[in-house]
């Protein structure tokens, strides 16, 4: 009976986590460096 139960699927959540981390890193690098360039003037 137990093998009829659906296997929990972690893939979409994990993929979302990686993509979110990528977005945070992009914001932290590209966004930060652009703001630093602006306020450096």
């Amino acid at each position: 009976m137990s093998n009829l139960q659906p296997i929990p699927d972690q893939t979409p959540r994990r993929a979302f986590g990686w993509r979110l981390l990528g977005t945070v890193l992009l914001v932290a690098s590209v966004g930060l460096v652009s703001c630093q360039a602006l306020f450096g003037h």
């Binding site: 699927d9 932290a28 652009s34 360039a37």
Partner: protein, 324 residues
């Protein structure tokens, strides 16, 4: 037909991942069907779903938008530097901004190409790795801006470039270096099969391109379906390369024929609209569809027959050796 009512509930915490996912970009086209189905199955309130989740096959409009928005301060910085008469700062800001814009444009093109129909499996078509180029330009842009516009040292600038490259890879993905080879093409027969499949796939790609250019929705759907059927047959041949000799007529005669007829119809139809021509083309498509289906069935039946023979031989061998 009744339309099921939309779920009317408030946004909850577990709705957040699909929401943000739609903002960053929907499921990647290369993701497993299981992952894609799981992505679709997460419910969103009706209006939000229509607003945020792209329909299957549709390019998500917001994917890659971040790359256009994040460098915006650089443009402002360049304008301010120009106003103050600082040429160095202006060049640094404008250069960084131009690099980021080029990266965003390449990434957008790369994302579009990812969603543009089925990817070739056998034909190794030369396609620029646009997203990878976008990622490289993003990293260069971050490094250049950090060094020349923000005034960081070389080490920190390299770190900025590395972090942005990793972030780009995680958020948008890079194209794989070199295409995975689906068939071993070491010996002569395998190479022949691989070549035949690549050629046939090239024809199918042409066919699908022609289908996209048709305005008649019915003929477009028929031609698209033919393309899908053809791909199914190629997959069967790839699974069992010996089928190539059985499917030779399909590859050489029908596939080439339908490709030429479809291309001819598309070009003639653009210049002159004719009901008779349309009907003739429809008849040809119906016939070819039947032929494709027959071909698929024949390959499947041969598989079954071959398996029957193998089982029989194995049974005889086991009997002879006194095991059964």
């Amino acid at each position: 037909m009744t339309i099921p009512p939309e779920p009317s509930r408030n946004l909850r915490l577990h709705d957040l991942p699909p929401l943000v996912r739609s903002l960053i970009g929907a499921a990647r086209p290369g993701a497993s069907p299981l992952a894609a189905s799981a992505h679709r199955s997460i419910p969103l309130p009706g209006r939000l779903r229509t607003l945020l989740q792209p329909r299957p096959g549709q390019v998500p409009r917001r994917k890659g938008a971040l790359l256009w928005v994040l460098p915006a301060p650089l443009l402002l910085g360049a304008v301010i530097a120009l106003g103050r008469g600082h040429l160095d700062s202006f060049l640094a800001d404008a250069g960084g901004f131009a690099l980021f814009m080029a990266a965003a444009w390449l990434t957008k093109r790369g994302i579009r190409a990812d969603y543009a129909g089925p990817q070739p499996r056998f034909a190794r078509l030369a396609r620029w790795p646009l997203k990878t180029l976008g990622g490289v330009l993003t990293a260069i842009g971050a490094g250049v801006t950090a060094h020349f516009a923000a005034g960081h040292g070389p080490g920190i600038s390299l770190a900025f470039a590395a972090v942005s490259a990793i972030g780009f890879h995680l958020a948008y993905g890079l194209e794989p270096l070199g295409r995975p080879r689906s068939l071993r093409s070491g010996d002569e027969p395998s190479r022949r099969v691989a070549e035949a499949l690549a050629e046939a796939e090239g024809r199918l790609l042409d066919l699908e391109q022609t289908a996209q250019s048709l305005t008649n929705p019915e003929l477009k759907a028929r031609l698209t379906r033919l393309g899908a059927q053809g791909r199914g047959i190629l997959d069967q041949i790839a699974d069992r390369p010996t089928d190539l000799y059985r499917a030779r007529k399909f590859l050489n005669v029908y596939l080439e024929g339908v490709q030429q007829v479809a291309a001819g119809y598309a070009s003639t139809h653009r210049r002159a609209e004719s009901r008779e021509l349309e009907q003739n083309f429809r008849n040809v498509l119906v016939t070819v569809e039947e032929v494709f289906e027959e071909q698929r069935q024949r390959l499947l039946e041969t598989d079954v027959l071959d398996l029957d023979i193998q089982i029989e031989v194995l049974k005889k061998q086991l009997e002879r050796e006194g095991i059964v």
